[in-house]
């Protein structure tokens, strides 16, 4: 798992570096890689201020990576991800703190090479604690902007997120949180092939509500339950172009060669219900390993319903 994470980070850096050389993505990838390097350098040099550096690696499997409706279009694959993040905590008042941070991540798929990607994310959040101590309720407003560069560059996307969260640790065992999230993914339009239909298939807008609970079984072991309700654009990829939707249901369509030469991605309006069951085990004060199972059930327009089952193994380390 550790070797795989190194590979993922390596691939991520390689992706960013590789795209720097391509004329098309040069202007996008250079600021991203420069930003990543800057953040890491600043994090290292300001280790004497209130910086928190964390790293994570995960191994997951999705039985339907392309979010396909038909069984014959479903492509299962495994992926390895690695993340390095650095956050600076800037207390603003007695119970108000501003967090500015950045995250560099990479993801490598076993089979779907075109989906190999590297991302750089910058975020700013303001957290208010409604009292003093570990059991005070808190709320947080967060905005972030990320850039993800894919091996198959047509999927490159700039992601803007805004979220409002609140939570409370009830006692040493129970920790609850809920949030509202907005996400806008802006991608370049794909190659247009369907007359009268937008080819901007990889741009998405979505809003979601999440609610989570964590329960500590012991000092080291905890269980978690997360739920999600999302409404917005979904992208469903069919392996052949023969999957027709009524034009009123279809928001955009474009070729999606990462899934095969004849694959087509369709953007539709959909609602997703998700659930996550997880268990975490603290290896040390600074690290934990976790296992989780996520299940998503999406109902999109035009009868395009699909599910995803995503088992996942994670490792987190916080310096």
């Amino acid at each position: 798992m550790r070797l795989r994470s190194c590979l993922a980070v390596g691939a991520a850096l390689h992706n960013v570096g590789m795209h720097c050389q391509g004329p098309r993505t040069f202007h996008k990838a250079t600021p991203a890689s420069a930003g990543a390097l800057l953040v890491l350098c600043v994090a290292c040099h300001t280790a004497r201020s209130d910086w928190v550096v964390a790293t994570a690696a995960s191994l997951s499997h999705d039985d339907n990576v392309g979010d396909a409706h038909n069984h014959s279009d479903m492509v299962p694959d495994s992926s390895t991800s690695a993340t390095l993040s650095a956050f600076d905590l800037l207390p603003v008042g007695r119970s108000l703190s501003l967090v500015a941070g950045s995250e560099l991540s990479g993801q490598v798929y076993d089979r779907l090479d075109g989906l190999r990607n590297a991302s750089i994310d910058g975020l700013l959040s303001l957290k208010k604690k409604w009292g003093i101590g570990a059991f005070a309720a808190w709320s947080r407003a967060q905005v972030s902007a990320a850039r993800s560069d894919y091996e198959d560059g047509y999927r490159n996307v700039t992601i803007y997120r805004a979220s409002l969260e609140m939570g409370k640790r009830l006692d040493e065992r129970w920790n609850l949180a809920a949030g509202y999230n907005f996400e806008r993914r802006a991608a370049a339009p794909g190659a247009s092939e369907i007359y009268g239909v937008s080819n901007d298939a990889f741009s998405q807008t979505g809003r979601s509500f999440t609610a989570n609970a964590q329960y500590a079984l012991s000092d080291r072991m905890s269980l978690s339950l997360g739920s999600l309700l999302r409404h917005g654009d979904v992208i469903s990829t069919a392996l052949t172009a023969g999957h027709y939707y009524p034009l009123t249901d279809l928001k955009a369509a474009a070729p999606d060669p990462a899934f095969g030469p004849t694959a087509y991605a369709y953007r539709l309006d959909g609602t997703t219900y998700g659930i996550k069951l997880g268990a975490n085990y603290s290896l040390t004060d600074h690290s934990l390993i976790g296992g989780a199972f996520q299940r998503f059930d999406t109902h999109a327009r035009g009868g395009n319903n699909y599910t995803n089952s995503v088992p996942q193994l994670t490792w987190n380390y916080q310096f």
Binding site: L89, P91, K129, N175, A177, N212, Q214, D219, G278
Partner: protein, 217 residues
């Protein structure tokens, strides 16, 4: 004259040395394992035996976002400094009835010392790092000690006489009062006080917690 003075000084010294008694304490848990960080309290039945005790200044440090030491026994009236050895800032507080206080966010040795003038247990926390927890035991008696990794502690230089001894630990499953033992200390032989206490499994706020929320794929 000089002879008389030497005689008086040596007799006082001899009496004091002859009267110094010692308690050797041992604390074990329900499985017979040594219990570290248990506070041993030795209370003289005759309050005159605790006279002239002074309350020295002490410190509770913050190292790698933890309080060091985890348990700090002090004599009532002592002041404690909270130096911060980390290169990030901490915001130390206590809600405990024995001492409520809140230090503003600080680094280094900027925080003012805090005086603990009421006996009892003070639970320390940090408002920035929720997992940080520490204990100050404010003792009403000047005779106390804390057990080490072997579960042992020695309290010496005690005036001979009648005492009650008791123990306290943050995870103890019973009251301090239920651990009280009576001991008559004589100067020539050290006395032994032993306890077997049940420890409750504790759950601390985790330092690293995994994401509980579902990530839309």
């Amino acid at each position: 004259m000089l002879k008389n003075f030497i005689a008086i000084v040596s007799s006082v010294f001899f009496c004091a040395a002859a009267q110094a008694a010692e308690i050797r304490a041992l604390v074990k848990d329900q499985k017979g394992k040594a219990v570290a960080d248990a506070v041993i309290l030795v209370v003289p039945v005759d309050p005159r035996n605790a006279l002239h005790a002074h309350a020295p200044a002490a410190a509770v440090d913050q190292v790698d976002k933890q309080f060091v030491p985890y348990v700090k026994p002090i004599f009532v009236g002592s002041t404690i400094r909270f130096p911060n050895s980390d290169n990030i800032r901490h915001q130390v507080y206590s809600f405990s009835p024995a001492k409520k206080f809140e230090l503003p966010l600080y680094s280094g040795t900027d925080a003012p010392p805090v005086m603990f003038d009421k006996p009892g247990v003070v639970v320390l926390g940090c408002n920035i790092h929720d997992w940080m927890i520490g204990y100050i035991y404010v003792s009403e008696t000047p005779f106390f000690a804390k057990t080490g990794p072997l579960g042992t502690a020695v309290i010496n230089d005690l005036p001979a006489g009648e005492y009650t001894v008791r123990t306290w630990h943050p995870n103890m499953d019973r009251t301090e009062e239920s651990t009280i033992q009576h001991i008559a200390l004589s100067a020539d032989t050290p006395s032994v006080a032993e306890w077997q206490i049940g420890l409750k499994p504790t759950i601390h706020v985790p330092r690293v917690s995994g994401a509980a929320s579902a990530d839309y794929p």
